[in-house]
Amino acid sequence: MEPITTFSGKAVAVPGENIDTDQIIPAKWLKVTDKAGIAKGLFEAWRLLPDGTPNPDFPLNRPEAAGASVLVAGKNFGCGSSREHAPWAIQGAGFRAVIAPSFADIFRGNSLKIGLLPIAIDEESYHELLSHIEEDPESTVAIDLVNQRVILPGGRTVAFPIDSFAKHCLVHGVDQLGYLQQQEDAVAAYEAATSGGVNTRA
């Protein structure tokens, strides 16, 4: 995984609270066995009109959204299904971070695993960010993961929380499975101390 420290990018907003993972990536895109091409399904039902042509009103389809790398959305973003296909699709479409007032638990965890930053900021800052994007669709935000802060288009700095372990992994480009594998001795000791349990092969 590529280390993430600081970056800035154009922000595009898909406002609305409780945007669920069925909207982010409809179920028909889950019938795959790899991750390739999933980005084509991102927000498909909103991005396309019923006849399959792009919906010109959808924010991601506007010409000024081209090249955006920061997605901005309302509270409880990513609720619903645990499908990791949702962060895969967002990342596959070129986004490196999602900024929202809050995230659903599973979506946040899934995003951190793949290096898509879920950045939770307060409601007031969220609305300020929306206004900036509305006024100037070329607005960019700067994200400083090391110092856990976002610089809004107007120059104001907003702090965001992130768990220290996920941050360490992202900043150093190390993955969490590697860390878990190093726990083998402790896992073996735990298993030795706790006998029994189900046996699905019995």
Partner: protein
Amino acid sequence: MPTPKTLFDHVWDAHVVQPETPETPAVLYIDLHLIHEVTSPQAFTELRERGLTVRRPDRTLATMDHSTPTTPRNELGIIPVTDPQAIVQLNQLRTNCAEFGIPLFELGDANQGIVHVIGPEQGLTQPGMTIVCGDSHTSTHGAFGALAFGIGTSEVGHVLATQCLLQYRPKTCAVRVDGALQRGVTAKDIILALIAKYGVGGGNGHVFEYMGSAIRSLSMEERMTICNMSIEGGARAGMIAPDDTTFEYVAGRPFAPQGAEFEAAVARWRTLPSAEGALFDKEMTLDASELVPMITYGTNPGMGMPIDGLIPTLDEMPDASSRMALDKAMIYMGLQPGKPLLGHPINMVFIGSCTNSRLSDLRQAAALIKGHKVAEGVRVMVVPGSQQVKKAAEAEGLHEIFKAAGAEWREAGCSACLAMNDDKVPAGKYAVSTSNRNFEGRQGPGSRTMLASPLTAVAAAVTGVVTDPRTML
């Protein structure tokens, strides 16, 4: 004196391999890992790329449920899969299970079914366990006093490789439901009412523990319906303290401990409930005696109301963003704020899903539909949650009751819950569904879902309009 522990604390503490530190999350041991065809393929790819193996195939079980058809068997007794993508996905699961030694319940096998139906049915789901699956409705298994939650595909890989997960200790929320349910009001109505009251994000960051007299009096299958939709309330897991109802349900099932081992297990399980005075980070309450059948009118499970109520108006919404959400939902659903839902025409009824596809759900639905006919122009799909449920229902003749009424009796699977197989609600059509999500397009592009109990679903099926099931009792 030690701090009194909650049910969650008991299960969590018993599974900590490495404690949480300021720098690192806890390493949590997983007792049972359930997998299915949709969220596992990329995890196995990851294992192969890293040259890893499955650490505990004997703690892992696979089934086929999401992308599978529920169409009747052909003359060879086989459920035909025609979707090329589904064929690839199912073949991939077969290959992965064979290569890594994981037992698999094949499509159409005697034990195959929805992952959250088969775990409890087989006795694999037991009190005090940690259970995960790449599926958010894993919360279902919490009905047994297990800590059970959905994970993403990266984490599926973590568990396959190490049988552990990295987790921060979540907060706890006591969900107190007291009072006796009135006739025609079910466990589904309890959970829909709770989510309507506290919202789809109300439980974020928390594990629910459902408690109170209303919860105690529920059967295991009713408790599963409630825990199933914890995720719809934002909680990754929902738990119910095990009691005699739990032990009686588990006893004698294929993978449950037998004989003296079972007695020893029950003695351990009796120590799991929250101790007197145990503290929770948050509390929610609901009076079950005041509930009426619930139905959803919008595009998330929190947009629910009493079936005899009115859809809220924009003025009743607390803030601008919820006004926007309601407005958007009304346009999508083709409904009017401030209007009733009773009498609204419907096109489809779906009785099934990991929420409401167990034998007691089917019994309840069959008892109400018996002697009635499905309304003209309405399609009714009844989809048992597993092959075992199907067999048991057929042994009681429930399938004949459904078929005589004009409903379809189908093979086991996730079916019309999530539009991943051929069972879909057509664009613009209204479905009363016993499933768990009414998101835009959830049951098919343009589908309009109203979530409700099996009783409310049957009432709509026979009248062709949204109907209070209490008028049929």
